[in-house]
Symmetry: C2
């Protein structure tokens, strides 16, 4: 296939795979697409290790890294001044007691043990809270740019000037995810090279405008800059649809979560395979910003009448991430209450994710379905 | 073009236009598409008049009628037993005083005069409330089937057996709008001939699953029954996208509201032309069921902290429709407060509706854009 992004990155098929799993990133890149490693959950050392592994497995084929750089942080009392973040201890201290109490009660009601609550809290603050400060993101970007990455993506808000500058100096294009045409305009002004227009049906942090409306709007707004379409796309016919809307390619995240390679906990994978498109919800309960995810007892509780309300980002992550780690640990042994609570970020296209396939096969299937969709359109008009 | 629905209805271009305006219906039908008159706002006599006019203007070309038959009515204390509806007086009486007081206060705050509140209330109950009872819908269906209509559509819920039966006896196919694959399955069981899969970005009564995800789901669910895609579609590239998803054609409502022929009040039309895709909201404030519409001081007030909460359908219509008529009347003279309140049902694609064109031209533009989108896809793959 020949689109602007195929030429820009030297890829055969303009399918970008966002995944936290290095095996998925390498498999998609090796199948002719473009893998993008979601780095937010990693410490700099761990990211270094993951990228070294990818370098060893893609034989010089192109891949990228995605970091989460929130435009605004809400650190409550833990703000350490400009740049944000008074460190893990300050973050922990800034979470109201009410929220810890709610969490304890939620675990109790579901019979989920919490043997070392304080240790979990501390590790959470270090693991989840720290990377989404501007300093945390900068550290990850520095690690990433020391590898032969071909794209650096910013998942939330306008990338800070020093990120754009560092990438430019390294000759690495910058991509940014947007949920509105206004955001796209701002990203172009900030100097990004590629826009990912992500509709509200997407998993993770997302806005409210649907892919069908957002993509043509953004394409018209940022032309001649290329646009990838994201949100709800898990099949080749959806890829054909996105490109009929004017996108130069697609960016998929959810579809990889049920692949063979995915590190999705087995009980969450099973939930996704069984879920319909109605079984997701846009909730602040995991990160503090609206993010689409599987509806579960966790999201219901935080949206429910007894909820203390969610905190901002990253404090809600401090509360949620350690809790979810414990929930998943307990759920893996078959614990019913923990399984009710467990969830993960996923888009409405979870309703179309009904089989476990190797990531490579997902790419090949999408290529095939794309061709079939185009044949059907040509048959309708008598062209082709 | 050749699709199942082109053959089924003998049309050139599988573009269905839902409109309350007979001029739009006739213009689209005469341009090679298929006009569908939204009948809910009409009394049986008025519908008779409109259909006679259409018959005189389409020269035997195919058109249809859409009625709103809610699966469940919430009549509060006005329920007259099975079949629902104790008549206009009972409906009026069932609206809590609190809601009338809220309305009076809302008008006061915006400086909108309400000279004959009681008369407005009475006419509202007759005009808006009555038609959405099962009896009201049945009366409209009877009028419609006496004309050479080629489609009868049910906009909410499963059509009652006697509607399907009456249509079948008259040889008229029945279409039903659905927002989930489960609803589609139920509609097929109820005997409908054509499914309209309407994504959450659509104007009017709508669910939450986006067009990009819903259409392939519904297509797979009801195959080999043909599916029209609805929700967010206002251009030919979106039509191409919808058909890449597997739809046999598209069903558009919003795009006609800013056409030359549309009876949209001029101040509302101006709002729509200026609106972006973010300027809609899914609100119960006009009908009692979630319906996407322009966000305005009206929707903000009903969603706001001082709101008494919305009533069910059709009681909220009794409250809202007369009020909105008065708002529009006052707004037409340039009254600022009334203009702030005014709104209308429209989808997120309002962001793509930026010029006033004849309805005929919208059809021709969509045909042209569809062809261009397909050419682009063929150029990308090297086919075509």
């Amino acid at each position: 296939m020949r689109t602007e992004v195929c030429e820009m990155f030297g890829i055969e098929f303009p399918l970008f795979a966002f995944s936290h799993c290095r095996d998925v990133v390498a498999a998609v890149t090796n199948a002719g697409g473009f893998g993008v490693l979601g780095a937010v959950a990693y410490t700099p050392d761990r990211l270094e290790e993951e990228l070294r592994w990818i370098d060893e497995h893609v034989g010089g084929r192109p891949y990228g890294v995605d970091v989460l750089v929130p435009a605004r942080l809400d650190l409550g009392d833990a703000s350490g001044g400009p740049g944000g973040g008074g460190g893990p201890a300050a973050m922990l201290a800034a979470v109201p007691q009410e929220h810890w109490a709610f969490l304890r009660d939620l675990f109790d009601r579901h019979g989920v043990p919490l043997p070392d609550f304080d240790a979990a809290r501390r590790s959470t603050a270090r693991g989840a809270g720290e990377q989404v400060t501007e300093q945390g993101a900068t550290d990850l970007i520095e690690v990433a740019l020391a590898h032969p990455i071909r794209l650096i993506a910013s998942a939330l808000g306008t990338p800070p000037p020093r990120m754009v500058e560092a990438a430019e100096n390294a000759g690495v294009p910058v991509a940014a995810l947007v949920g509105t045409a206004e955001h796209a305009r701002r990203q172009v002004a900030a100097g990004v090279d590629l826009i990912v227009a992500q509709g509200g049906e997407a998993g993770g942090h997302t806005g409210e405008i649907s892919t069908m409306v957002l993509v043509p709007e953004v394409v018209d707004t940022v032309a001649p800059l290329p646009v990838l379409a994201a949100g709800g796309i898990a099949t080749g016919r959806q890829m054909a649809a996105a490109m009929a809307l004017g996108a130069s390619g697609v960016w998929c995240g959810s579809v990889w979560l049920t692949t063979e390679e995915a590190e999705t906990p087995p009980h969450v994978k099973a939930k996704m395979l069984a879920a319909g498109s109605r079984d997701t919800v846009r909730s602040r309960s995991r990160t503090g910003k609206p993010a689409r995810q599987l509806r579960s007892a966790w999201t219901d509780a935080w949206e429910g009448p007894d909820s203390p309300g969610t905190l901002g980002m990253p404090l809600q992550m401090v509360v949620a991430e350690g809790a979810m780690r414990q929930i998943n640990k307990v759920a893996e042994s078959g614990h019913e209450g923990a399984r009710e609570l467990a969830n993960y970020f996923v888009g409405q296209c979870v309703g179309l994710m009904n089989t476990v396939r190797p990531a490579r096969q997902v790419v090949y299937d999408m290529v095939q379905e794309f061709a079939e969709a185009l044949d059907r359109l040509n048959a309708i008009t008598g062209s082709g």
